[in-house]
């Protein structure tokens, strides 16, 4: 006997993500899921965003890593609430882990939640967390070809941040070629070029984050 199923394999995760989203909406918290390869500058961008916006909005952070609390310790220095999730080997955050982290955050005192996913350009794309916006960071030293090699994340991101632009004189990164490929794949994504070292582009990025909160 054949039973028709026609159900998405990750529907259980999607349901949990839906519950997270409902809780965030109830508490009027806007959540950003920040994804990239390891070492592209997710934590640096989060720290810069906090520095620019913390006087205007109340920020909370969830840090996702396979192991360690190194990133959470950096965020604590900025005096914002942070929860570290250690996935213990899993290569991405799942909605259930974020749901448990939300229980540990003072959501009534947070307007903006920055979720740093596990460094990985493949798996986080499949798992919704309940976020309002997906952000993908690609750093200049990684190369512009990554959009062709890992198309899923580039096609679903709401914003794409090209980071470490201060390294453009030293690394080959064809920005016009990258933007052309991106336009074909994802025309709605906002694009930012930033350097957390020179702080170029940080203001524009932070302004987009702030304006997205009232959407």
């Amino acid at each position: 006997m054949e039973i028709k199923v026609l159900k998405d394999i990750l529907s259980a995760n999607d349901q949990t993500a839906g519950r997270n989203r409902a809780l965030l909406d109830l508490k009027e918290v806007t959540a950003f899921n920040i994804m990239s390869s390891p070492g592209s500058g997710k934590t640096s961008l989060i720290l810069e965003t906090i520095r620019v916006l913390k006087k205007q909005v109340r920020i909370g952070v969830i840090e996702g890593d396979i192991a360690s609390t190194i990133d959470a310790q950096k965020v604590v220095q900025e005096k914002v609430p942070v929860v570290q999730i250690n996935t213990g080997g899993e290569c991405h955050l799942e909605a259930g882990q974020v749901g448990r982290a939300l229980e540990s955050l003072p959501l009534d005192k947070i307007d903006l939640l920055l979720i740093e996913n596990v460094g990985n350009l493949v798996c986080p794309g499949e798992f919704r967390l309940g976020e309002h916006k997906k952000v993908l960071i690609l750093s200049v030293p990684e190369g512009d070809d990554k959009i062709h090699k890992y198309p899923l994340l580039f096609s679903i991101a709401d914003a794409i941040v090209i980071s470490k632009t201060d390294l453009l004189p030293y690394a080959r990164f064809d920005i016009p070629g990258f933007l052309k490929a991106l336009k074909g794949m994802n025309r709605r994504a906002k694009i930012f070029q930033v350097s957390c070292t020179t702080r170029e582009g940080i203001g524009e990025w932070a302004e987009w984050v702030r304006s997205s909160m009232s959407e």
Binding site: M1, E2, I3, K4, V5, L6, K7, D8, I9, L10, S11, A12, N13, E90, C91, H92, E94, N120, V122, C123, G125, E126, F127, I147, H148, K149, Y150, P151, L152, S155, K180, A181, K183, G184, M185, R187
Partner: protein, 113 residues
């Protein structure tokens, strides 16, 4: 890389559907995988053999149906297969396209007794 979590979700879904259908044995699982999902069939097969042990799905075969990446041009409405990540319309060379297939990841049906 994320096949472990994907396979666990698939096993849970299959067992739930089999239970609803009062099945005593799952013989076959028909899966649909889009190219863009990045899920590797061999890995799913391997994890499945471990995770289905001592369940009614133990020994079931998995049939993979792969869906290629298809996009529709917003300018001339042509639907084309995206090859080697070339997301530009082959007809009018438009760069504004939308994904119509390729990110599937679902259980189409199960065969039970």
């Amino acid at each position: 890389m994320h096949e472990l979590a994907v396979t666990q979700s698939m096993v849970n879904l299959v067992l739930e559907e089999a239970r609803k259908g009062n099945a005593s044995k799952v013989k076959k699982i028909n899966l649909v995988l889009g190219e863009l999902s990045g899920v590797v069939g061999d890995c799913v097969q391997f994890y499945f053999s471990l995770m289905s042990k001592d369940t009614i799905a133990e020994g079931a075969t998995i049939s993979f149906s792969t869906v290629s990446t298809q996009a529709r041009c917003r300018q001339c409405t042509k639907v084309f297969e995206v090859k080697e990540s070339d997301w530009i319309c082959p007809e009018c060379h438009g760069v504004s396209v939308e994904l119509v297939a390729g990110n599937e990841l679902f259980v189409e049906s199960i065969e039970v007794e």
